[in-house]
């Protein structure tokens, strides 16, 4: 894959393909050197979005005007000799779960189809401060409930590797945009794996930082105690740069961690893992646990690579991970049922007025019925039930106890090892429509990613290669103790470099070019 221009989509000039295939680090360097303008770079991405995205449906909204305006400002500032942040002028896509002032923010729901926030999420404000042009808002499962983007009210996003397959979810739009070179970087949110699982099935990198490391202010809440915002990128170093932009204490989010941001960018330069203790979690890997053979094979090879890099590999057991899924599907719906109560059509959002002279309660009911999709209703009902008096202790209360036990499993494991690893998702990307009728099968996609959300520890997915049986990408998940996010980047970067050596390039470069559909 030495000549990226061979991948250029038909009917377009090679120039924008050249530019979009750079890493974010390369883009930043060329911008800083004056070899490239942000307007050129941004326009190249906008052109590619215009050509490719009608096929992919990764974006719900493209803000060409806004992105180019930022790009022009950055170019002018640079021309005037102003000192600029590292990623100034490098475009980014934002999951439609983050409020953007003046730009429609839907969370993938009909309910918020016309909702234009009057304020920016802190993450968005930081992106603006970093002077990164925002290309647009990316598709997602409705209110981030799902693992495939098939639950988006605005149609599924397609996987750039195979257009009949899902790009993961809920943040499939962000990962597909990054994988298809529609954006070098994107913002995701991860409640049970919504950054890491899409990264795994699209051959990209995604990080869920430590809970509280990135502000949730302005992020449309799914489950407050689980939600975390993080970067999506094609390389570990690119992800680190975006991580650095968005992380840090925010007084507007009470659960925000007031501590210095770990040096993730420095860590992303790691090439040697000598002395690092790596634990393989017995409960979330292995064919006997339902992991696809090709996914497991790439994982085993990655372990060899880690050994080559100087790491010591041991197996550790986290016995309570077996209950993670059950606990997660009580805690998430409980919190979601309350978080989504505000969508009542009284102050904003879709309003449906029944005939006659309906009461406020009837308007609320009709609006929620029309505005929410089936998966959202399913989880609201589940959560409402789990929190009901008489059931609270047996469900929500019990789930919280499991959560404590899982956190203890992590603590015990991190006494023995520095990081934990597992395959990110049990399978490669499945076909669109395969699991929409079977919620349990869909939920099982997140079996390896959920424990990190329950315990609040950071996790990352890096590509491990492609599975033999289908040629589709698989991911390796790295987990670290809370506030040790830099370890993810150290392990991820070293592994990425070693696999790149072995496989002759980044995994994403094996992706076939997208056939534009009419």
């Amino acid at each position: 894959m030495s000549d990226p221009t061979t991948h250029a989509a038909s009917g377009a000039g090679a120039a924008d393909a050249d530019l979009t295939r750079l890493t974010a680090v390369e883009m930043a360097d060329r911008l800083a050197a004056g070899a490239l303008t942000s307007v050129e770079l941004t326009q190249a991405h906008l052109d590619r979005i215009e050509r490719i995205d009608p096929t992919l449906n990764a974006f719900l909204l493209v803000d060409a005007e806004g992105a180019l305006a930022t790009a022009r400002e950055v170019d002018a500032a640079r021309a005037a000799g102003e000192q600029l942040p590292r990623l100034a002028g490098v475009p980014v896509a934002v999951k439609d779960i983050a409020c953007t002032q003046g730009l429609t923010t839907t969370a993938g729901s009909r309910m918020l189809e016309d909702f234009v926030p009057p304020y920016d999420a802190t993450v968005v404000a930081r992106i603006r401060q970093a002077r990164m042009p925002i290309l647009g808002k990316t598709n997602m499962d409705e209110f981030a409930m799902g693992s495939s983007t098939e639950h988006s009210a605005f149609g599924p996003t397609r996987n750039p590797w195979d257009l009949d397959r899902i790009p993961g979810g809920s943040g499939g739009g962000s990962s597909a945009a990054v994988a298809a070179y529609l954006a070098p970087l994107a913002i995701g949110s991860d409640t049970g794996g919504s950054i890491r699982q899409p990264a795994a099935v699209t051959g990209t990198v995604g990080t869920k930082p430590t809970y509280g490391a990135v502000s949730r202010y302005g992020i449309i809440a799914l489950a407050s105690s689980l939600d975390q915002i993080g970067p999506c990128a094609r390389t570990v170093a690119d992800a680190a740069l975006l991580h650095e932009v968005i992380a840090g204490h925010d007084p507007m989010d009470s659960t925000s961690v007031d501590a210095p941001v770990p040096d993730v960018v420095g860590a992303a330069g790691t090439t040697d893992l000598s002395g690092l203790r790596v634990g393989v979690v017995r409960e979330i890997s292995g064919s006997d646990q339902g992991f696809q053979p090709g996914v497991q094979a790439r994982f085993d090879e990655a372990l060899d690579a880690l050994r080559d890099l100087g790491a010591e590999i041991t197996e550790v057991s986290c016995p309570h991970f077996a209950y993670a899924m059950a606990a997660y599907y009580l805690i998430l719906p409980s919190e979601a049922s309350s978080n989504l109560a505000r969508y009542d059509a009284m102050r904003y959002g879709r309003r449906v007025t029944p005939d006659g002279s309906p009461s406020a309660e009837q308007v609320m009911g009709a609006s929620r019925d029309a505005g929410f999709g089936d998966e959202v209703k399913r989880r609201i009902i589940l959560g409402t039930y789990a929190l009901s008096s008489g059931y609270y202790d047996a469900y929500y209360g019990q789930a919280q106890k499991v959560r404590t036990l899982i956190a203890r499993d992590f603590e015990a494991a991190f006494e023995q090892v520095d990081v934990l690893v597992s395959p990110t998702a049990p399978t490669t990307a499945f076909r669109i429509g395969d699991k929409t009728e079977d919620p349990m099968a869909m939920y099982l996609n997140d079996i390896a990613t959920i424990p990190a959300n329950l315990a609040g520890v950071p996790g990352m997915s890096v590509p491990s290669g492609t599975a033999d049986e289908d040629g589709l990408p698989a991911g390796l998940q790295i987990l670290a103790p809370a506030m040790q996010d830099q370890r993810l980047y150290a392990v991820g970067a070293a592994l990425e470099a070693r696999l790149r050596e072995r496989q002759g390039g980044y995994v994403i470069e094996q992706a076939p070019e997208i056939e534009v559909r009419a």
Binding site: P118, Y119, R216, I220, M252, S254, T255, A341
Partner: protein, 520 residues
């Protein structure tokens, strides 16, 4: 649209009658709006009376993505209230979400506290005033406090188009979210038993004592009529001697101390009538009507109301250190009741005088006046006399204003009193001086100087005036000499007139008598 009230008034039984058969049990829930500058979970202003929906932001409007941040001052106020109510302060407690749908609640959950309140298990001793002609002494009732917890207020709904202002029959509703998110402290008593016939008075005395306490703590403006202090009264009756409490009703919209007493009394008489008829009390919310003095049925309320409480995941636990608590304890004011007793003793006021001062809300201003040098008697004389009289009509269009709103300071009053006791002014001149102070002409001394108000201290001028008056009134002089000393009053008036008021009437009298050689 028909409502339950159209079925006619509820039956009641005479109050004295019911007490022979039933024992009342009360439970009082008081909501206090804290006087913090900003709301409970956002930085919006809290001022009363602003244009609707001008004091709002994404947080208190419950916009997608907005998150709460706890107001530290509100937590400190809650702890101080808890300490003043002799409660234990939690070392660690959380907020909880109370989930229910209502248009005036932006998030459709209220961030409150549930099973982990900030303050628990306290008490407040309240003094119930003696009944006229019945009791000699006030009696003291210890109100046990179950808890005090923090929560946020809801928006305020106005129902338009109906006759009652209630939601029934209204064509539409308007919601003002300025109130949404204002910090509230809810103070809940344990069941109040054993008060018997005095129960309504105990309820009133408790709310009054609580109001005084909160005012002394300076945590709220405690204005019942503006809703910054709201009381819900739970009332039930049980047959005398029974141990199981009866079914309770919760009466809302009780907006004055007098209403607290009346509403409790009314509910007792209504409950008794229902029970006497062999029927059972419906557990429900009742609305108090100040004008008619009755309650009407609100919505049925049952223990099955399921608010699906769970710990608020967007907030971190509140964990005041013991040092924090002790620091706040050191800021507590003296208990208002104890303070009153102490001041009464120091000032030498009678019980009646002290009660009048308290009822007039003049304790603080008298204390301040005494502190700048006036005698307690003089301070009371001015504030409860001349100034109280003027306050009654000092407002626009002759309406009443508070003593503190008159524009006279304690220092003015002390200075004025000094001018009188030192003999520079007489009472009438003092009143003229006060006119000047009220008109903004300056301090009493400045006014007296500017208006040339000063008693003539020189007996020469006064003696000349006396001589003139005596010469002009030989018949009166004759009477006085004949033993009718009281006739001297007529002469004093004439002397004062000649002196244009600038003389001490007592001195004038003395000079008249001396000149005539008569013993006063």
């Amino acid at each position: 649209m028909s409502t339950r009230t159209s079925a006619g008034p509820d039956r009641t039984v005479p109050y004295d009658d019911l007490l022979t058969r039933y024992e009342p049990v009360l439970g009082l829930e008081v909501h206090v709006e804290l006087g913090t500058a900003t709301k409970m979970f956002c930085g919006c202003a809290t001022g009363f009376g602003a244009e609707p929906n001008t004091q709002t932001c994404p947080v208190c409007l419950g916009l997608p993505g907005a998150l709460p941040v706890v107001n530290r001052t509100a937590v400190e106020s809650a702890i101080r209230i808890g300490l003043a109510l002799n409660c234990g302060i939690a070392e660690w407690c959380r907020f909880a979400r109370k989930n229910y749908f209502y248009p005036d609640m932006p998030k459709n959950f209220q961030t409150s506290q549930y099973d982990e309140p900030i303050a628990v298990d306290g008490w407040l001793d309240v003094e119930v005033p003696p009944r006229e002609g019945v009791d000699e002494e006030p009696f003291t009732y210890r109100v046990e406090i179950e808890r005090a917890h923090m929560e946020e207020d809801t928006g305020k709904s106005t129902h338009v188009g109906g006759s009652t202002g209630r939601i029934h029959g209204a064509s539409h509703s308007l919601v003002d979210y300025n109130r949404a998110g204002i910090p509230l402290i809810e103070i809940v008593t344990k069941p109040l038993t054993g008060a018997g016939e005095r129960a309504p008075e105990v309820a009133r005395a408790y709310v009054g004592a609580l109001r005084d306490l909160l005012r002394a703590l300076d945590v709220s403006d405690v204005k019942m009529e503006q809703g910054s202090l709201r009381c819900d009264a739970n009332v039930s009756l049980m047959p005398t001697g029974a141990e199981r409490f009866g079914t309770r009703t919760e009466t809302k919209n009780v907006n004055s101390l007098r209403s607290v007493e009346r509403a409790v009394r009314y509910e007792m008489t209504r409950h008794a009538a229902v029970l006497d008829a062999g029927e059972s009390i419906l557990q429900e919310t009742r609305h108090w009507h100040e004008d008619t003095g009755i309650t009407t049925s609100g919505r049925p309320k049952s223990d099955a109301d399921d608010y699906r409480y769970f710990p608020e995941p967007d907030l971190v636990p509140v964990a005041p250190t013991r040092e924090d608590v002790e620091r706040l304890r050191a800021t507590l004011p003296e208990n208002p009741a104890e303070r009153r007793r102490r001041l009464q003793e120091e000032w030498g006021y009678s019980d009646l005088e002290m009660r009048d001062v308290v009822n007039a809300g003049a304790v603080e201003v008298i204390e301040a006046t005494v502190a700048v040098g006036a005698s307690p008697a003089a301070a009371r004389k001015w504030w409860m006399g001349e100034l109280a009289r003027r306050a009654k009509t000092a407002g626009e269009d002759g309406s009443a204003v508070g003593l503190l709103d008159l524009g006279v300071t304690p220092a003015h009053v002390a200075e004025l009193d000094d001018l009188v006791t030192s003999g520079r002014l007489n009472d009438s001149m003092a009143r003229q001086t006060l006119d000047g102070v009220l008109a903004g002409e300056g301090s009493p001394t400045e006014v007296a100087d500017a208006r040339g108000l000063e008693l003539v201290q020189d007996d020469g001028a006064l003696q000349a005036a006396v001589d003139e008056v005596l010469a002009e009134n030989p018949d009166v002089v004759e009477k006085i000499r004949g033993g009718k000393v009281q006739a001297v009053g007529a002469l004093i008036g004439q002397v004062m007139k000649k002196m244009r008021g600038q003389a001490d009437a007592g001195r004038a009298r003395q000079l008249i008598l001396d000149t005539l050689g008569v013993q006063g």
